[in-house]
Symmetry: C2
Subunit: 216 residues, 2 copies
């Protein structure tokens, strides 16, 4: 197989890239990276990604890291396959790009912090409730503020980037999946348009396939 | 004039968008937003950007927020004007996009934290030296780690995104400008390729023009 994705199944960025590959109906080999032995910091792996992180994407000789760069490449290079996730009209594409920036700059920093506390650290009983409180569960502002803007946007547009499902939605999937399974679910329940959007995109077959591969 | 940029001259994201407009030789009106009276949180301004932040870009009836979405739109919509900042070859563009993601996800979080402590809070004597130490001045890891990867990349490639100056470089300008004027300059001095790259892009006429408009 020509396409390989190096990752671990607990890595939200790796799952983001995997979701894009499934949306494009591409065959690929998932290559597990052994974080237990710090394989991601070996010279061999650092040659693939100098930051020593997953995912890494290979398409023949062509290599990429950074999950959102991988999804964009896949969406554009395989435009004729699977789901079309990049809008054609230049102004509509600019609006899609704007919401992709919002995900990377506003949603991701708050949701990854919450995900880290509530999901990953919780496995070891290390959740810091003060961080959770600040990040939005109650009294906090930041994820709530982002979701308030999303609620307004989703009254005007079926999807975040425009009328159809695009990368602007797909990039949210890994942390949406994590947060909606946690006690911050109430933040979503309180916002009907956000909740309907999240249910819609989380039930896409490509994402369901990603989840079915993930450790329980 | 058809193009307007709403911002303040102390906002790194506003200066990022302005640099792109100057690189493209576009005429535009800079519309100052009065942060002292919290104009950015008024209903009128929230209609332009629901996050209540600058910059906001207007091109006739078309509106955008998020600085990196603005630079991309400007670079693509005005492809025939000024500096070409988007590579044409799809694989080269994917590599450029990857380094744009690195800026947004790795360089910006560390450099904006340092810039906030050393530049903005310093104006009021509020710099938190513990944050500075953790973020990379001495003993810290994060900005240093990013710059180590940049040093390696810039031994292989004249610019971060490829052989020519692109948005992958331009997006760094506001925080490069701030950090190189601060005590963390030593982090740049210690890395000759990063230092040469920074000097090169900071001396571009478009950026010099941005700096000449900024408050001293």
């Amino acid at each position: 197989m020509a396409i390989k994705l190096y990752g671990i199944l607990r890595s939200p960025p790796a799952l983001r890239a995997m979701a894009a590959l499934f949306e494009k109906d591409l065959d690929f080999e998932f290559v597990p990276v052994d974080f237990a032995t710090r394989e991601q910091k070996t010279p061999q792996f650092l040659a693939l990604n100098p930051f020593g992180e997953v995912p890494v994407f290979e398409d023949g000789d062509f290599k990429l890291f950074e999950s959102r760069a991988i999804t964009k490449y896949v969406a554009e290079a395989y435009a004729d396959k699977g789901t079309d996730m990049v809008l054609k009209d230049p102004e509509k594409l600019a609006i899609q790009t704007m919401w992709m920036e919002v995900e990377g700059q506003k949603f991701d920093p708050t949701s990854s912090k919450l995900g880290w506390e509530l999901y990953f650290k919780q496995m070891f009983g290390l959740t810091d409730e003060a961080v959770v409180a600040r990040a939005g569960d109650k009294g906090g502002q930041k994820l709530e503020d982002v979701l308030d803007v999303y609620e307004q946007r989703l009254t005007e547009s079926k999807y975040l980037g425009g009328d159809s499902f695009t990368l602007a939605d797909l990039h949210h999937l890994p942390y949406l999946h994590i947060l909606i399974g946690m006690k911050v679910k109430s933040l979503f329940d309180a916002r009907p348009h956000v909740n309907a959007w999240a249910s819609d995109i989380l039930s896409r077959p490509a994402w369901v396939k990603v989840v079915s591969m993930s450790p329980k």
